[in-house]
Assembly symmetry: C2
Homo-oligomer: 498 residues x 2
């Protein structure tokens, strides 16, 4: 039974049901579960664990790659299973529990989780639960649609539960490139010299004696909702394409641009889709989550190669891609998130990083995470890994939200995830602000003129003028700096009552 999927015969007697395996997980344990951006999560064991917690309350500390799919983060929060959760999530139920202070959420740069684990800053996982497409002759684990932190979690954990997903395409085997940096103080360079460098192995090389259970599952890939491009996202894409064209013309970028990183979500996806009709060829991607746009560009012959740590698709795109995964084998690699997001590689390759802002301010500081400065949306994810070391660090957002009640460009952001030092280009549907080499007062001028919605332009200009009268390298009126957010809290709109 499952001989092709469990190729080390001695492991066959480790097979058990998901509820049986879930019983290995005890109250107070630190558990690592595979999964990144909704892809590759160990669904069956997670669901069994949730059931178990409903019957008999227990709490765990959960470390994953990023967000779990199949609604697991929400179900876990609902079942009161999560004491601590890191490093990213995107679920409304879990979000609520985090913002109520019921779940301690550690929001962290995705490339650094493993360093913190290695450094002993986080407890060693008692158990890692890893979704796999198969187990090799050596007893090594071949992951499914994400690598994320799976390799590091499996290697660090005291015991490993493998969830063998029969519904996963066997073509995932060979797609992964599993690499672990050496331990300090004798660590060498991470030898990724190009987006398509292969530096590791095809499977997670654990000692098979540490596999405590194998659970057979049959879970369809989780589909993520993906909004189609609209007029605003199309305008953002157009501004960016025009900017890239100019950079090529000025000799600052080659015709095939530079390796592209694109953040998660509909806006970033739409921007990436804007490159399909743009005059750039032989593009490459060195990114985190590979979304629909990656495969649209691959299919259009515009993208030569894509490196990521996870594949997260809409149901329509997933339908097309996962059935034909073999076709993409030569043009894809999935890496651990430590490597896909590694500052060393990002800086070396000279990446163009395109991420989405929740809001940005007059001087180019970006808030990616906190609504109203207090309430967590999802997490910083990889945006900081990329923005800090990118060749070009670009943030995009629509200039307004909630029918104009919220301006995404504000006097002072209510929370800072990315400081002005890490931002080169800001884009809204209104236009593009090229902030490179500019001082704060110059940045403000260009942001007001190019990015702000007309409904807020005068007010922001007035704020800036008044702040300049008070002086300073980065002029602010502290009495008014957060007034737009306060007004939104009090009146439901950032617009001043006239």
């Amino acid at each position: 039974m499952h001989a092709a999927r469990i190729r080390l015969a001695s492991l066959h007697d480790k097979i058990m049901s998901a509820p049986q395996a879930a019983l290995l997980i005890k109250d107070g344990m630190t558990i690592g579960i595979s999964g990144f951006g909704g892809a590759g999560d160990a669904t069956a064991v997670s669901l069994a664990l949730i059931e178990q917690a409903r019957r008999d309350p227990l709490k765990i500390n959960l470390i994953t790659g990023a967000s779990l799919g199949h609604g697991l983060d929400g179900l876990m929060a609902e079942a009161g299973l999560l004491a601590r959760r890191m490093p990213f999530q995107g679920d409304p139920v879990l979000r609520k529990a985090i913002n109520e202070g019921k779940v301690m959420f550690i929001d962290q740069h995705l490339s650094e989780v493993v360093e913190q684990l290695r450094g002993g800053y986080l407890p060693t996982p008692d158990i890692a639960v890893i979704e796999a497409v198969c187990i090799t002759e050596q007893g090594h684990i071949v992951p499914t649609s994400s690598v994320g932190n799976s390799a590091s979690l499996a290697l660090a954990a005291k015991q490993v539960i493998v969830e063998l997903n029969l519904a996963s395409s066997p073509h995932f085997e060979g797609l992964h490139d599993i690499y672990q940096p050496q331990n300090r103080p004798h660590r060498g360079a991470i030898p990724v010299l190009q987006s398509n460098s292969r530096i590791g192995s095809h499977a997670i090389e654990i000692d098979p004696s540490r596999i405590a259970a194998i659970v057979i599952s049959n879970t369809a890939e989780a589909a993520v909702p993906m909004l189609p491009p609209d007029n605003d996202t199309q305008a953002i894409a157009n501004h960016l394409v025009r900017f890239f064209e100019n950079e090529v013309e000025m000799g600052r970028l080659p015709r095939n641009l530079a390796p592209l990183q694109v953040g998660v979500g509909s806006i970033a996806n739409a921007v990436m889709c804007g490159l399909i009709d743009a005059p750039f060829n032989d593009l490459v991607q060195y990114s985190e989550v590979l979304q629909d746009s990656t495969f649209d560009l691959l299919d259009a012959g515009k993208l030569k190669f894509a490196s990521g740590c996870s594949i997260t698709l809409s149901s329509a795109c997933g339908e097309r891609v996962f059935k034909n995964l073999g076709q993409y084998a030569e043009r894809l690699v999935l890496r651990p998130q430590e490597i896909s997001n590694h500052p060393e590689v990002i800086r070396r390759l000279g990446i163009i990083a395109i991420n989405t802002a929740l809001e940005f301010d007059l001087y180019g500081n970006v808030n990616s995470t906190h609504v109203g400065g207090t309430h967590m949306m999802n997490g910083i994810g990889g945006s900081g890994d990329f923005a800090r070391n990118a060749h070009l660090s670009i943030f995009v957002t629509k200039s307004i939200a909630k029918d104009g009640k919220i301006s995404r460009v504000v006097p002072m952001v209510s929370h800072v995830d990315h400081t002005e030092h890490d931002i080169d280009i800001l884009v809204t549907e209104q236009g593009l602000a090229d902030l490179r080499g500019l001082a704060p007062r110059e940045r403000a001028r260009i942001i007001i003129d190019h990015c702000v919605h007309p409904d807020y332009q005068e007010a922001l200009n007035d704020y800036f003028t008044a702040a300049c009268r008070l002086g300073g390298h980065t002029p602010h009126d502290l009495n008014q700096a957060l007034s737009w957010h306060i007004r939104l809290n009090e009146t439901g709109s950032m617009q001043a009552v006239r």
Copy 2:
């Protein structure tokens, strides 16, 4: 004449006076001048240029390594010479001009200036003025007490003025390790694998035909003021030593700790001095500016090796070190700031980074630069390069300033240079907060309990309690978040009137 110092005979006829050389610099030019932290600046040509600007007004865009010594930044600002200045300064006169909006100051991560130059984000320097200890047989330039951005500026500039400083120790020759990363898209790894790795050459390998002038000078090393340790800095050092001892005991750090980076200034210097009597041996430093403490530790036999990009000493320490520089030859290297501060190397080596905060907040966000959120102090310098990728990112500050009128721990920092994601440990004379693996609400608790001055503890606790009632992952009351800064502006103290 000067045959030992200018070993390529054909260059002898390039010798001219400083005022003659300064005449090569014209209004509107972008000029690169050597200098970092007050060390290695091209003083004679700079002074001649200032004279020239006084007689006949001109404006330049100035790029250096970091701050210039010998009061040059202030004199330049006074002479109206600076239109734009990057990437760092520390002069009261220039600071005033920046805060009045008269000089456009671009405050930037010190490792990234050269990337921006290479990327064409900054104008190509028309002229680079580089202080040298000698010119080699090949016409290559051997810098003096700092490398900073000198190599990149000299290689990029259309013309080079060499300022040959006869007062500089000939023992500087051999101390430098000049390395330039390859151009993308074919860049390899930066091969620094240990603090003492030597990967480059001893001199800046420019084509000597680009040397437009050689100016002979005789300038003493600039001395920087260095306050002796006081009770508070000693307490900070003690907290840190105790923390390191515990990390060693827990097996999280080896007995010789990890390569140390220490920020500029008296507090950081005092903290480093605290290691002299601590039970750690064979320490190594991988830092930016090497200050008095480096040589104190070398002389005490505690430090095995120090890598930096500049040597900046008090007059007493300089007296001792510069005369005996040869003694340190095997235990020192000076690198370009791109390499001393390179994220790739910092992450690989697993550095312990100790930097000084201007203020930090309840959740561990750090302000390093902006007084009252608006007025630039010096600049972010290398603190961001190190804090983001360090193995341990530590910020230190005294808990209060101005006789208690200012608390260095506030509800919300008025400006963010380092987000909570990049901060592991905070230390004041009151105590040490270990924030690793904690969620914001947990961080707040531990910061209030360990770091805040007793005079402000109750008020900060009240703020936190009230904010928690409003909810959120990172609780804040936006109406009160900046109230301490506003009160300071209005009443001269952050203390509430009772």
